[in-house]
Symmetry: C2
Subunit: 173 residues, 2 copies
Amino acid sequence: GFAVRISVRGEGSVLPLAEAAEPGAPARPCPCPLPSGDTALSRLVRRLLSARSSLDLCLFSFSCPQLARAVQLLHRRGVRVRLVTDAQYMGLHGSQIGRLRHAGIQVRHDQHSGYMHHKFAIVDRRMLITGSLNWTTQAIQSNRENVLVVEDAELAELWCKSMSTDGKDSFSS
Amino acid sequence: GFAVRISVRGEGSVLPLAEAAEPGAPARPCPCPLPSGDTALSRLVRRLLSARSSLDLCLFSFSCPQLARAVQLLHRRGVRVRLVTDAQYMGLHGSQIGRLRHAGIQVRHDQHSGYMHHKFAIVDRRMLITGSLNWTTQAIQSNRENVLVVEDAELAELWCKSMSTDGKDSFSS
Ligand SMILES: [Zn+2]
Ligand SMILES: [Zn+2]
């Protein structure tokens, strides 16, 4: 399981939020519908679905169908979605990259040596969602992970820039 | 390479800092002395070495000798160092866990199913260092990674708590 913590800069409030699942809980198949209830996954999805203009994703691996569905939903709503992913990992079993690309989402793969190991999302260039969590069913259900949400346009802008830099070659191709 | 960004809550300043190495630069053997100059690794090490009372580490994998040397140095200075790591990864080639344990540092391994996938450090319970970076030579030299430093005691406390929870079984053993 993982925890989502919300950090709102300026207001200085930090809300601790409960775990998605007990550590060590057995892995279940990830059902496709959007998650409901008050789990860390549903909170993460709600943050993503708050996007009105843009969603920038820099993800080492992406196999969770629920998160892919949320991203697709935003794309259909007209939100500009950009995704940079690792070239070696995007072909792996269960990857959602093909599905997203098929849906018309702008996907780029980083082909530098080493890994594109980021795991962050930027909502409307104002909210940074970052941490240890790969967007995989395994990570969401079985690992100990953390996700930090920071509402800070300056910070979000910095991460956006590093995304452009790290994905430079692939974005210009 | 990776970038270290410093976020000082309250002051509201965010300092973008340069990359440690060009993305795609060839991997070099990681020399043991502490890094000098103005690289992302040296900035990370300086943040760690600012610890006066405690350093809490929750690291999926730890093979970088330079970071291990910094942690050992803090231990010798009397800083209370605690480390939780993943049970499956701690025995891997090049792991620094044995060396740290040998030096007398309190090391615990998380043996739940799934991975203890966190990659964060907490300095003096006031500064959270978190992101995608595993503390490995491969990640530091070859990957695209990000590290966020947040000076915020409330946030640091939350991460400390999750560390105790996630490492619960192993800490009580
Ligand atoms: Zn958990
Ligand atoms: Zn880099």
